[in-house]
Symmetry: C2
Subunit: 204 residues, 2 copies
């Protein structure tokens, strides 16, 4: 095993830069994010990142893509732990969405409230679509296979908006009354809120 400090070549600077970027984002916010700051955090000269990312946008774009993938993973983890019916799975998925927003404040902001990543990038748009598609499918399963398209659209919009609203408000500290509740009560409250908007499961 080699000691990292002895190495002139970093080994996996690309990965290290992504981790550094996440930290940088956490501490400085999207608005104060710099490439030089990331290089410093990764323990590397400020010119080194150029070998891996064209510019700050490229780094933020890759980080946003990674963010979307983790965002989806969290939701899937929650879903897989839920009772195997569309309603409970959808509810779990929503709780995962909110949990991600709370635990990864900076990433959540990056993927939902920033113009800095390049959304035309193939990797990023693929990752974001995967996340959104998963959510749509969950709602569709819940609305029932032959619900009219118009109803499905309303269901999707309502469910997504509710979950996203809770996540964004908690994330920006505006629903402190929820965040302040003890673990179990918080969960119960979130369930009550999200549950209120889920379409009733159809039985056909």
């Amino acid at each position: 095993m080699e000691m990292a400090r002895d190495k002139y070549h970093h080994g996996d600077l690309r990965q290290a830069l992504l981790e550094a970027a996440e930290e940088e984002l956490k501490e400085k916010g999207v608005e104060g994010f710099t490439l030089r700051g990331c290089a410093k955090r990764a323990g590397v000269s400020h010119a080194a990142p150029a070998h891996h990312f064209k510019d700050a946008t490229a780094l933020l774009t890759a980080l946003a893509a990674l963010g979307f993938r983790r965002f989806l993973e969290v939701q899937i983890k929650y879903k897989d732990a839920a009772p195997p019916n569309p309603r409970d799975r959808m509810l779990a998925s929503g709780l995962g969405y909110i949990d991600f927003a709370q635990k990864h404040t900076a990433l959540f902001r990056l993927i939902f409230s920033s113009d800095r990543p390049d959304y035309a990038d193939a990797e990023l748009s693929h990752a974001s679509e995967a996340a959104f598609t998963d959510m749509m499918q969950g709602v569709r399963a819940l609305s029932g296979g032959n619900a009219p398209e118009e109803k499905v659209m309303i269901d999707v919009a309502a469910t997504w908006a509710m979950v996203h609203g809770v996540a964004d408000l908690i994330n920006s500290g505006k629903l402190k009354m929820l965040g302040a509740l003890p673990e179990e009560a918080r969960r119960k409250a979130l369930v009550a809120i999200v549950d209120r908007v889920l379409p009733p499961a159809t039985t056909d």
Copy 2:
């Protein structure tokens, strides 16, 4: 009437800077906002703003306060045009919230998704509290005077989250299917969505 171009003294540079700042925000986003850019837009040397705003944060803080006041005005305007019962007034208020987010994208982002304004500032925190208080009162009126506090909290959170979620998702272009609908259909869809989460009016 004096011609503005003949004046060495601007007349009301403070106000002009606020308007310039809103434009700057609209075009460059919170992330690219500069004081020098605002000065240029206001047609004034870059050192002039210092007489009115200590720094960029002070200007953004004043702008955010102004944003919250307008945000509340729009909601009140909508409410006053609605049938005078708690449910319709609340619904109207929510539509006003969403309307503001759509028409003042930059301001909405500034007040809900940016760390740059100083929220400890008295004027700003007063303006934001006024907006939030108004909303809480609307929900409280709808929940009925003697609803248990816990239910009111859930009602507030659910209503706020739903409205805010729709507003934020439309604002960031993620509910295109709603934005793309023709005027009347869009309104109907929004009503259906927001209405779904409003607590039933109590009659006691």
